[in-house]
């Protein structure tokens, strides 16, 4: 039962208010038609799925409805950083 600091509401809120939105920093290819089936399949389906720090997106569903990024340890569940869409995580924990 996570407690997540919403960078937009600037408050720590309970997990029930949020939804997980998958791995972060998977930009949509600029020109999908130039990709092979394999490359496109990789974009669609392949995920890093690390054991340890994971860069992921969450959305504050029941609150401000904003998406944002979280750096979270997938073993300890500790939240190492919260940062906005378009930003990169702080250096530590970058795998």
């Amino acid at each position: 039962m996570f407690r997540i600091h919403c960078p937009h509401c600037q408050e720590v809120r309970s997990e029930e208010e949020f939804s997980y939105a998958g791995e972060a920093h998977i930009p949509r290819p600029a020109d999908p038609s130039s990709l092979s089936d394999a490359e496109w399949g990789e974009y669609l389906h392949t995920r890093t799925n690390p054991r340890g720090p994971h860069r992921e997106m969450w959305v504050h569903t029941a609150g401000c409805r904003r998406y944002f990024n979280v750096l979270r340890d997938t073993v300890s569940y500790e939240i190492l950083a919260v940062y906005r869409v378009g930003e990169m995580p702080p250096e530590r924990g970058e795998a």
Partner: protein, 424 residues
């Protein structure tokens, strides 16, 4: 491809129990050896859960490949094998999956005899409830497909369901009334630990080395070919490396420089205190989000959902438990006063189409059998069988072929979200 000398496996029977009782049970044979790792094996199986042990067993038994090690970082059956809710069924929607799961179910039906280890497979029947008109269409479709695939199945109406499960709330005015169900009489439950132990004992007897407390720390490859694994007990060379480590597939893949279409998530389950028999079948409901059976010991065994996020913590969010028990109390109002003894989590590897990945990877000699999501237990025998065949012949077993990794490039996904359901 010969491993350790096969040994005579002591035959378990009632008579044996009597004989051993005379000696105060002091002379039972070890269920398996605790060998030192050899420097190399023909095949190294990473993961000593049900699927890995079954793979080893069928490799040795069916294909004569006994120079095999099963490398397990903890104890045999300690992952999802020992954490699931033990439901066994084969009533999937798509041809590809129903063939695979039905093959598995057939193996279940003779497994105790095959292994001479009582896995307590109890075909007490599985109900999948429908609560909306669309669910009933889907049930009709799935049951029809099952029949055409030779899998006996039926659609039941609420009256018939109530006869099978008298404590279930089938009132038409409940929030999501039970409109009907699919019924697979041959489905049921089994004793999860026994499956791992039974396979382990027989695999060991065939000469397979079971290496517990041996953690794989690296997968070595040369020129795109797998050569062995680094472990906490040193390097073990292998001609083929087969990863069957649900919950850790992504981590293992990364060791070989691969990424998979898999996300690992916590899946929770819970049991009640043991109570006298009051539920004789397995009941599953997607819409109300509950699946429940009663173990032989009397505990209600209840599956909860997966968490929405990735996690390797073997624990999940309490909200999931809350929703699950709301569903249980809604479907079984009499269970409201029963008490939860324990809840726990496993880590499931989830594929985008809720179907497994079985086969060789772009690294030659490196095979994966993973992505069984929330429903791998039922597939244990079948999964081991087809994977062993795939490993032995270096080409996919026909039942495994649709589940190769390249389907994520071609788009040939085997969408089983409906039949796989919330979790099972």
């Amino acid at each position: 491809m010969r491993g350790a000398e096969p040994r005579r496996m002591e035959r378990y029977s009632l008579l044996g129990l009597v004989r051993h009782a005379r000696h105060y049970h002091e002379n039972w044979q070890r269920a398996w050896r605790n060998p030192e790792p050899k420097k190399s094996y023909d095949t190294v199986i990473v993961g000593g859960g049900g699927h890995g042990l079954a793979t080893a067993y069928y490799l040795a038994k069916v294909h004569g490949v006994t120079d095999v090690a099963v490398v397990e970082k903890g104890w045999l059956g300690g992952g999802n094998t020992g954490r699931n809710t033990t439901i066994v069924r084969s009533n999937y929607l798509r041809d590809e999956s129903s063939h695979l799961y039905e093959y598995s179910l057939k193996l279940w039906e003779g497994l105790s005899q095959e292994l001479n280890f009582n896995v307590m497979f109890s075909p007490r029947g599985v109900l999948n409830l429908g609560h909306t008109l669309q669910e009933m269409r889907d049930i009709e479709r799935r049951v029809g497909a099952n029949r055409l695939n030779g899998i006996e199945a039926q659609v039941l109406d609420p009256g018939e369901i109530n006869k099978l499960v008298p404590l279930m709330n089938c009132a038409p005015d409940s929030r999501y009334p039970v409109l009907g169900a699919s019924w697979q009489a041959r489905g049921g439950i089994a004793r999860h630990d026994a499956v791992a132990w039974g396979y382990a004992r027989s695999a060991d007897a065939h000469g397979v080395d079971l290496l517990q407390n041996t953690e794989v720390t690296g997968i070595r490859c040369r020129n795109g070919v797998a050569t062995g694994v680094d472990t906490s007990r040193g390097f073990i060379a292998a001609r083929k490396v087969a990863c069957v480590a649900a919950g850790n597939s992504g981590v293992l893949a990364a060791m070989a420089g691969l990424r998979l279409p898999i996300e690992s998530r916590p899946l929770q389950a819970l049991v009640s205190e043991p109570i006298k028999p009051c539920l004789d079948t397995v009941v599953m409901s997607n819409a109300v989000h509950c699946y429940i059976s009663q173990a032989d010991k009397g505990d209600l065994v209840i599956g909860a959902g997966t968490d929405s996020y990735n996690g390797y913590g073997q624990r999940g969010s309490f909200s999931i438990i809350e929703h699950t028990l709301q569903a249980v109390c809604e479907l079984f109002p009499a269970f409201s006063r029963v008490r939860m003894n324990r809840h726990w989590g496993g880590i499931v590897d989830i594929c985008p189409d809720a179907c497994p990945i079985i086969g060789e990877t772009p690294v030659r000699g490196l095979y994966f059998n993973c992505g069984w999501g929330t429903g791998g237990f039922k597939a244990t025998p079948g999964s081991g069988y087809v994977f062993a065949d795939t490993l032995a012949h270096g080409r996919p077993h026909p039942l495994a072929a649709p589940f190769s990794l390249d389907r994520f490039a071609t788009g040939a996904l085997v969408d089983e979200h409906g039949a796989a359901g919330v979790a099972h």
